[in-house]
């Protein structure tokens, strides 16, 4: 077991999209208990650096494995597909249309009577869509042939789109809170 192995192996998991959050958390804590820099305060400098490096890698792995979007991107990268190198997305018109509607919903929510509740509704809508895309990704990824993997890349790009809207929504919520 070492850091050169992939995140699934590091967490003793088989390489599949579905993960059990509770068991992930248990493994994460056991790994941190062994590698956290707090365990190496009196150790040699090399050992202290090593601990920071291991603990940071385990933190990153946990972050990737628990995030639906990051996990999908990571699984593609294990197949040698780097999302950034894939050029701009060829979004189908229907999806783009939906995006515009979502953006509009977001703007309306901002000016609604109860903006917090309205934003919550948009958030629910977004989360439902994200979940649907996750299912699509899994079926495309599992088929594994070139055409399906290319489709999976498109799906992840759509997920990225939605995730971006989600972030903007959270920004709005934050602003509502502060003002």
């Amino acid at each position: 077991m070492s850091l050169t192995e992939n995140y699934f192996q590091l967490f003793d998991l088989s390489e599949q999209y579905a993960v059990d959050e509770n068991s992930l958390r248990t493994t994460y804590r056991e790994l941190q208990r062994k590698t956290h820099p707090d365990k190496f305060v009196g150790a040699s400098q090399h050992e202290q650096l090593l601990a920071v490096q291991y603990a940071a890698t385990i933190n990153d792995a946990y972050d990737v494995l628990t995030s639906p979007l990051k996990r999908a991107i990571y699984m593609l990268s294990l197949k040698g597909i780097e999302l950034d190198a894939q050029g701009s997305a060829s979004m189908d018109p229907a999806f783009l249309m939906e995006q515009m509607e979502l953006r509009e919903e977001l703007e309306n929510a901002e000016h609604a009577n109860d903006p917090e509740a309205a934003l919550e509704k948009v958030a629910d809508h977004l989360d439902a869509e994200l979940e649907a895309f996750q299912a699509t990704f899994v079926s495309q990824f599992e088929k594994g042939c070139e055409a399906e993997l290319a489709a999976a890349v498109d799906t992840v790009k759509k997920m990225q789109f939605l995730a971006k809207v989600r972030i903007d929504l959270e920004h709005l919520e934050h602003e509502l809170l502060v003002d």
């Binding site: 790994l31 305060v41 150790a43 040699s44």
Partner: protein, 628 residues
């Protein structure tokens, strides 16, 4: 040459001595030191039995005076009596200018550091040095109570402290001659004290309103793991602001028309603090202030006070809502809200916090003592007195770290609330043929424009191999360690050449400036510099020896061949021999060698422990199956 003594394989290394460690709460208005003695953490009081040390330093032609004695000088000699120095830590001269009359001191700029220095009767002092004076008194208290030199200290900082403020705190400890085991976030320290005391499980909020800073942290407590889910705060908001608002109100009521001298200003602040404290348990109080030609008399009540401080308390509540959101929690998910910091004694603060979280806030533990107590518990574990198998702290990075990109925008590299330690890499390329250097500006904050974020440092990468524009791929790794401090490394990926990184902190000291302050400070105390430095090296050597001996005892047989083990034993023996001598250079040399020869062993141990963790988990799963 003396024969090398090798210990029998598998023989227990000498039972290690109990180490002396303290936890220090370096507060805006008060500071404390605590330690674990006979199993429980206790605050160490001064000779008069007082737990708190006012964070006040008075400078004169005599050696500086700290604490209550300094506080007495505040009204008569305000310009030489430094109060609330924590507000200046890691701040720049232009920040200080915005403090206005809150800080009556004469400021100048510390050459080349952007740091403010204060002109006093004892010469110019930096905020780092003022804080070091406070730390020295606390350290001395610890040494006396524990009867020996301290092996290390955990020092607490507000969770929302930025990089420069953390670094300044660590520098102050170094100037005070303290070995920092860890910088620990104040709300996390409180959670440790509270969690271990109450054996609580579940999600809790720690609301920490001190003299000058506010923090809120949401934590999950489970089976000895303290996992911070989110944190938020304001490093310039606290009880001092309550006092100032009261003082300003009185001043305007009094219709006093002459200029307010620093003396009168101090007197009004003292009266304001007194009014605030009395109103914490009285419905109304009569006030009578006389100072030179200033006179005001009146009666004020709680309702009046609540109205005055409401804007400040409401600001904290907004931050709390943000932290809950970041933690993806609702108020109803919380098992408890723990109140920390002297300002949570104000009934109105308790009332509004209780309303927000819809629960009676928890005030069982003295809000002044809880942070130092938690720091002492952590120090005891870190120094190795207590096994840390049953306690694990997972804290977060409070503010996003980014770099400046084209158009003055900040590109986030490490996000806020990321669990530390954390490392993220980003690739850059050159834009000119043959370019061998590049500059990177690191900023901290959530805003998109660099101008709205806090400038942390500028890095220069040198030694990039000359290539055509865009061919070089420089991978820059940003790493935040367990103290919340940032370091940067860079490597050109096509050639594997490491670029050198020079850090120029925006507000702070460079390594040699800290060393110089340490020397000055020791010279002042007429201590023997050389003896102290030698002793520090010997302590390092002893620490390393016991750590490697212990590793050999636990895993030497499993993970090393006889020859590898012999190499390490030889290096240890050499270190043991020089460690008792007085040749500091030799000690450093042998520490390096012992470290190097055991590097591979350390890596194998780390990998083996990961394997063990996973195997242990599998075993647990089997056990659960059996039970089920």
């Amino acid at each position: 040459m003396a024969l090398l003594q090798l210990s029998e394989p598998g023989m227990t290394p000498e039972p290690h001595q109990r180490k002396l460690a303290v936890g220090i709460d370096l507060g805006t208005t008060h500071s404390l030191v605590a330690s674990v003695r006979s199993g429980s953490a206790e605050v160490i009081a001064d000779h008069q039995g007082r737990n708190l040390l006012p964070s006040i330093v008075h400078y004169s032609s005599e050696p500086p005076v700290v604490g209550y004695e300094a506080r007495e000088k505040a009204v008569n000699d305000p310009l030489n009596t430094i109060i609330s120095v924590k507000r200046l830590m890691g701040r720049g001269v232009e920040d200080v200018a915005t403090f206005g009359h809150q800080m009556p001191y004469q400021f100048a700029e510390h050459e080349g550091t952007g740091m403010p220095i204060i002109e006093t009767a004892a010469g110019n002092v930096s905020p780092v040095e003022v804080s070091a004076e406070i730390l020295k008194v606390l350290a001395a208290r610890g040494r006396e109570a524990l009867d020996g030199d301290l092996d290390g200290a955990v020092i607490t900082v507000p969770a929302y402290f930025d990089e420069a403020q953390r670094q300044a705190t660590k520098d102050a400890a170094q100037v005070a001659g303290l070995k920092v085991l860890r910088l620990l976030n104040e709300p996390t320290a409180a959670a440790i004290a509270y969690g271990l005391d109450q054996n609580e499980e579940g999600v809790i909020a720690v609301y920490d309103l001190g003299g000058g800073t506010f923090d809120i942290s949401i934590l999950r407590l489970q089976a000895g793991v303290f996992e911070v889910l989110s944190t938020g705060g304001d490093t310039a908001l606290g009880g001092d602001d309550f006092d100032r608002t009261i003082a300003e109100w009185i001043l305007s009521e009094s219709q006093y028309e002459r200029e307010v001298t620093p003396h009168l200003g101090r007197e009004l602040m003292e009266s304001a603090r007194d009014i605030k404290e009395r109103l914490s348990d009285q419905e109304s109080v009569v006030v009578d202030i006389m100072h030179d030609d200033f006179y005001w008399q009146g009666e004020v009540d709680q309702a009046w006070f609540n109205e005055l401080v409401r804007p400040f308390v409401e600001r904290t509540l907004k931050v709390c809502k943000g932290a809950l959101r970041d933690a993806k929690m609702k108020a109803k998910d919380l098992a408890n809200v723990v109140m920390v910091g002297g300002s949570t004694r104000v009934p109105y603060v308790r009332e509004l916090v209780g309303e927000l979280f819809n629960t009676e806030p928890m005030v069982d533990i003295d809000p002044d003592l809880v942070v130092a107590t938690g720091a002492a518990l952590q120090a005891d574990v870190l120094v190795g007195n207590k096994s840390n198998d049953d306690m694990l702290l997972l804290d977060v990075n409070p503010l996003s770290l980014g770099i400046e990109t084209m158009g003055g925008l900040s590109e986030k590299i490490i996000s806020r609330n990321a669990t530390i330690p954390v490392a993220k890499a980003q690739e850059f390329t050159t834009y000119k043929d043959g370019q061998t250097a590049m500059a990177i500006h690191v900023v901290q904050g959530e805003r998109e424009l660099v101008a709205d974020c806090r400038s942390l440092a500028r890095f220069e990468l040198r030694g990039i191999p000359a290539m055509v524009a865009g061919a070089a791929r420089i991978r820059v790794t940003f790493q935040v360690d367990a103290d919340g401090l940032l370091s940067v490394a860079a490597k050109e990926m096509t050639t594997g050449i490491e670029s050198s990184v020079t850090v120029k902190p925006s507000y702070g000291l460079e390594e040699d400036q800290v060393t110089q302050m340490l020397k000055d400070s020791i010279a002042h105390a007429r201590d023997d510099v050389a003896a102290r430095q030698l002793r520090e090296k010997q302590v390092d050597a002893e620490g390393l020896l016991s750590s490697i001996e212990n590793a050999l005892f636990e895993d030497g047989d499993k993970l090393l061949s006889a020859a590898e083990r012999a190499d390490i034993e030889v290096a240890l023996q050499r270190l043991r021999e020089v460690a008792v001598g007085d040749d500091g250079h030799a000690i450093i040399r042998e520490i390096d060698k012992a470290g190097q020869v055991s590097n591979e062993f350390a890596t194998r141990r780390m990998d083996a422990s990961i394997k063990e963790a996973l195997a242990g988990k599998a075993l647990d799963a089997v056990n659960v199956d059996k039970e089920g």
